[in-house]
Symmetry: C2
Subunit: 415 residues, 2 copies
């Protein structure tokens, strides 16, 4: 099995200014190709350290993929250092230069002269077209080793990888690993792991638990001659896990709770509407992350103040005065209200205290109420995350509100 390392280049990553999402993307893609990723490394825009890291990586691995440091400015050194370490000369490519000039003229912007740095490529290497920006990707193969050089911006790097790099790596892709991930909500990581304790001992596939904001996951990974054979090894184990964990399981693989809910709504020709206080747009944002959500979602109301909860959703002023905005009665009236106003089949609502401060009452940060209103049911759940973490509380509460919709639809369509 071919072994790869990912080498990210950029002082801005080491300073914490930007988040390295490329390594994650490339790792997931390489796993699908059956190429094993053994290490991620990040170094700054420093000639000596980049060269040392590349040499070390090449001494251990078949393939090194770099991202970043191909920009138009002086501190972008990846191209030169990689060519130097691999022993390739660089040469000016006038087709690329022309493409860069056209890119700017199509945008009606004058091209800064420095952009022409991006037209230098390794002699005898491969050039990968950049359909989203100006810096082309580059590939070099020598003595069984392969270096792939990709631009840093994720929206340039990812399409280039899919279109050009996957075919370039073909000779390295015999044998494959495949993973399937069972995703649960409402059970903790260690409780989940105990239910699958014997499976965690197995070798091929292996089973590994991990936790993710408000979720607990089990990853099943198998190796075989092909990706489809590896998946065949995973499936019975995944089925066994699902039967043990029952309705805690909401999805398989990268499927998110929002994706599952949109699927269920589509399958059952149902629509959903959202009424939010503390999550303030997070739920419709996540629902509409799913392309095609417009057939199941038409309206969401972010009612951040009591006045708007009353005016838009019809939450009674008495309820707000007596129980407060963060209460079960308010959550229920919000869900009923949004269903009435929108005409959707399901209304879901969230009201809570995301932190950092509380709402002036003695209610704790992390306390949230989620509710669901439908023609034949009304549900409400109290959530206490115990964390003073605004983003965590909002994300998890939004997830749990979506999960309430999943549980309702699954229950309804099962019976």
């Amino acid at each position: 099995m071919a072994v790869c390392e990912i080498l990210s280049v950029g002082t801005e990553i080491l300073l914490g200014d930007i988040l390295n999402t490329n390594s994650r993307y490339l790792s997931a893609e390489l796993a699908k190709l059956g190429i094993s990723v053994l290490r991620h490394t990040t170094v700054g825009d420093n000639h000596e350290r980049l060269a040392a890291a590349l040499k070390t990586a090449l001494s251990r691995s078949d393939i090194v993929i770099t991202t970043g440091g191909l920009g138009p400015t002086e501190d972008d050194i990846t191209r030169d250092v990689c060519c130097e370490v691999m022993g390739f000369e660089t040469q000016f490519n006038s087709d690329i230069a022309k493409g860069i000039e056209e890119y700017f003229s199509a945008k009606g912007i004058d091209m800064p002269a420095s952009n022409l740095r991006q037209a230098y490529v390794p002699k005898g290497g491969e050039v990968f077209e950049n359909t989203k920006g100006t810096a082309p990707g580059l590939g070099m193969k020598k003595d069984g080793k392969c270096v792939v050089i990709l631009p840093g911006p994720p929206y340039e790097m990812a399409p280039m990888f899919e279109q050009s790099v996957i075919p370039y790596l073909e000779e390295y892709t015999d044998g494959a690993i495949a993973s399937m991930t069972v995703r649960t909500m409402g059970i903790g990581e260690s409780a989940m792991a105990e239910k699958a304790a014997d499976l965690l001992e197995s070798e091929n596939p292996t089973v590994a638990p991990y936790a993710k904001k408000g979720e607990a996951l089990l990853r099943v990974t198998a190796k075989a001659g092909s990706r489809s054979e590896a998946l065949e090894l995973c499936r019975p184990v995944v089925d066994e896990i699902c039967s043990r964990l029952g309705s805690f399981v909401y999805g398989i693989d990268s499927e998110s709770i929002e994706q599952r809910v949109v699927e269920l709504l589509k399958e059952n020709n149902m629509t959903i509407a959202t009424a939010e206080s503390c999550t303030a747009g997070y739920i419709p944002k996540r629902i509409t992350d799913i392309p095609g959500a417009s057939s199941v979602f038409e309206f969401g109301a972010v009612t951040y103040s009591n006045e708007m909860k009353h005016k838009v959703l019809g939450v009674s002023n008495e309820t707000l005065a007596r129980f407060g905005a963060v209460s079960e009665p308010t959550a229920r009236e919000m869900a009923r209200g949004i269903r009435r106003v929108s005409g959707a089949d399901i209304g879901i609502s969230v009201t809570g205290i995301a932190g950092p401060g509380n709402d002036g009452t003695d209610k704790p940060v992390g306390l949230c109420f989620i509710a669901l209103s439908a023609k034949d049911a009304e549900l409400c759940e109290k959530i206490e995350t115990g964390k003073n973490d605004r983003e965590y509380n909002r994300y998890v509460t939004a997830s749990r509100a979506l999960n309430l919709a999943r549980l309702y639809i699954e229950q309804k369509t099962k019976g």
Copy 2:
């Protein structure tokens, strides 16, 4: 200046299942302490490779901070490997065990026996309390080298770093670097860099350009005896950059466009309301990412269908039929509508085609209209990102709508 490496542990990172946000967080925090981060490395849950990576990192650097691999399950090996490499014995700590038991009983859950693995600590080392979970952090110092072991979940790791690790690293923090970042919107990276071309040559502070979704940034970094001295070196350069880039500059440092808008609204006692189609909750989500946004934001409407644009915001059916949902007239009527319905001082709206598919017309993916309505002004802008990237298009359009509010308030309060 002390040198540090960050070593992340977790096969799930190398498989691309989770995104490594810890390295970014720690890098930003260490930079503030004047500790230079030279490398990020990620290895899997593999004894031999983790031990090798730790030894190499210790041979180059004063401090190594690990994250991950402290969970309750068998594949969590970081604690044992680090103690072994540093030559520390482990011992059972009954206070920690008691704390873990209490954590579970407070949640009303039975403690899985495997959680007691987390009560083993290095003899002669330091224990860092985990206020958000069960695995304590650990510290070991020997022969001038320091290893800090932190849990993987970011919401456990970050507070532990702030409360316990910063004081633990005190002896390494003399001398400091400081960075200031100038953030712009509406100008490209290379055009921005050209305006600051001479500054990019300077040594202390250094100036480096980079691009981020829909933004172009210039980072100014200085080294000095103390953090405040380093900041003093940065400030005149930042001022010079701001004067050259004018109203393209929306903020300094980590300030986001939503933060800037919330600040401006607060300063001027104004309120904002949002009406969204394609961004569908992204703008209120981002406004309310800022704690205390409730004083400036009360209501947002996500009107994903034409019917809801008409019913909730009063967009005329004639406008929708004649120009379509993705048009300047619709964007303007949405902004006016939300201002009227909410009673806010400023209404902003977005309607566009986020992709992957278009809207059945010949309008291209990435075409969006943003509008602003206020008592004394109405603005509208057409945006064409040229990208078929749903998340990018939604993020950038939301940013630009917020930027429209910034430009309006800055202009109004200047005059």
